[in-house]
Symmetry: C2
Subunit: 357 residues, 2 copies
DNA sequence: TTCATCGTTCAAAGCGGTTTCAAGTTCTGC
DNA sequence: GCAGAACTTGAAACCGCTTTGAACGATGAA
């Protein structure tokens, strides 16, 4: 049933019915009640396709999920973020459009969503340093919000980010306080803005204590379990293994733990591990004393915040760009402890284990 | 720029331009080339909102992500499935609409998508036994495909499923062949169709060898890391611990591994583990010899298949319902081995470790 | 009583495409 | 050279809703 039929059916004009359903004030209460009731009874729901054309609003937010040919990986953080954002969209009557594209087509995909008029706004995920997507969306004048930030981009834009630099500074400092001097860093992909900030936090904390950064102890890559395993193995088998490791996500941290176990090295006593925990729903780092000492920041909450900001900006409620910087407090878990005396790791038997092929 | 302006600009009627862009045959090649070229040059892209109203097609597929209040978990399988399906949608010019709703609102959400006319079809995720969503979509006559199947639903429908029963039968049989007699099962949530089939495969394999199923060894729950940890702990600390465990996903398997390590029990020698591996992109069970012995079936591939079937069915290319049953072959990894003689586990020192609080 | 005002309601003109149907043009075959 | 088929093109209706501008009756002020 369409508006014409429905309105005819209840003896009113399409105009009045439309107004009644959309909450316009010039409809009398009696009429509105009648319309709402009849719509319910007769099962009339306005066709969104028509409404979207008529209003010029798509009532939809675009998210783009880029997959690269080589490492076609879905960022595990994506789903939790989407869950948070989607929740807010639903509340405001917005739909969420998700485009899966090859990463070289990503810019084109944003442009396409905008020119085809299927979205009113978009979210940028995983910004790189000097990310071109930001400039693009500014250019085509599509409202957007960035989950993260992008260094070296000029012009204002909405963003929600974790204070990555401070979190990693704090985590590093914590390990230094425990007496660790050789601290490894298993970071995200090079070029990602968040990875750079984390690296800086780590490096600056070391520098503040006059400790040189050892490039052998810093890794960047996609945050898979295997990546955490391989990098941890490599570090611990090296001539000068670290006594502590910072890991950028709980997923590679699983791999790091596996490596430690495989080598028979105690997690938390012989080698300490601090992770950044995005509070993924299916991977909770919980318990009275969490498994991992961690800097935590819920990515789902970030999704909610991004959605709210974007919707505000679309509705024109916000004139200025909004920035939210989330602090990630350090929670001490079971994976950290005082640095062991170096001789533990230099003990003959142990080194043999560490250096086996 | 809209169609009217554009067509006027290049001296043709809107009709011809529309036809040229949509590949209708009654346009001369010369004209079509001219239109395509000019569109490119002048940057004209048809407004999808208008096209959707005019054609009556939404060119969009709906996915619904239900979140429950208590255990608001995003199924980790979801993102990989979406990645696979979304890839296919893009290729066919379809968009993907994702609705995040509270799970009690899920049925309403499907109905809403259909009556508002924002989708042409939908995917049902994680079907339960006798799933009401299937009947609903049949009733409102919205094309759909189920990722999984639903026992006890009558009527035909499209589905893509893994042969869960056979996979778990096979895995159980494999462990039995290795001499294991007490085999635990860490399964998905009760009521989920896939979990039931897996339980049946496991139970039937045991029964075929005349082994009684011990309810103390069977668990069902949401497949988090902690769930795998807790259930494994419980089993291994029980008076009659299993010598092997089947785990329904790699995520709880991480927890199971953690439990084994914490108890100092060797994975693959003292206790064997077989998992079902959905081949999640950020959690690959790979290597020359995979870490886990596993029945594997790519959920991303399932997503692609579902998308293809659904699109076919929407385009009316398919008259009959299609069913795809994917076989999950067993790959032997490092996590399984012959059952140890029972005395190992009954050794005095060991049991003390196992039974500590 | 009359005129301005207010509160309601409606007719009709969009929104920007697609598609039907008619018409004009160019080819054939005879 | 001409009728009829085969190609191309275009005018106008239509998709189902929103919104502008006008109309109408009721109310209140003059």
């Amino acid at each position: 049933m369409n508006l014409k039929e429905f309105s005819h059916h209840i003896g009113l004009s399409p105009t009045t019915v439309s107004r009644a359903l959309n909450g316009y004030p010039e409809v009398s209460e009696r009429t509105r009640r009648k319309v709402l009731e009849s719509a319910e009874r007769l099962g009339y729901t306005p066709n969104s396709r028509a409404a979207r054309l008529a209003t010029g609003r798509a009532m939809t937010i675009g998210h783009i999920l880029p997959l690269s040919k080589e490492h076609e990986m879905v960022n595990p953080i994506f789903s939790d973020f989407i869950a948070g954002a989607g929740e807010q969209y639903s509340k405001s009557g917005y739909d969420l459009s998700l485009s899966v594209v090859r990463d070289e087509d990503e810019a084109e995909a944003y442009r396409d969503l905008a020119t085809r008029g299927v979205v009113d706004g978009a979210v940028i995920h995983g910004p790189k340093i000097d990310d071109p997507r930001i400039r693009l969306l500014q250019e085509i004048d599509l409202p957007f919000v960035v989950h993260g930030r992008s260094s070296r981009v000029d012009g204002e834009y909405n963003w929600v980010d974790v204070n990555n630099r401070r979190a990693f500074w704090r985590a590093t400092d914590f390990l230094l306080d425990l007496g660790h001097r050789r601290i490894g860093l298993i970071n995200g992909l090079d070029g990602m803005d968040f990875a750079t900030r984390r690296l800086n936090g780590y490096g600056d904390a070391l520098a503040a204590r006059g400790i040189a950064r050892d490039p052998e102890l810093v890794f960047s890559g996609e945050m898979t379990e295997n990546y955490g395993f391989a990098t941890t193995m490599q570090m611990l088998r090296s001539p000068k293994p670290p006594t502590a490791i910072l890991v950028s996500s709980i997923i590679p941290a699983m791999g790091a733990r596996r490596a430690l176990h495989d080598l028979g090295i105690g997690l938390g006593d012989e080698v300490s591990v601090v992770i950044h925990d995005d509070d993924l729903s299916y991977f909770r780092n919980e318990g009275d004393v969490p498994i991992f000492t961690a800097t935590r920041s819920s990515v789902r909450e970030a999704g909610r915040l991004c959605a709210d900001i974007l919707l505000d900006s679309i509705r024109g409620a916000q004139d200025e760009c909004r920035h939210v910087l989330l602090e990630a407090d350090l929670t001490v878990g079971q994976s950290t402890g005082p640095a062991p005396a170096m001789r533990h790791l230099l003990d003959r038997d142990r080194t043999e284990v560490l250096r086996r092929p």
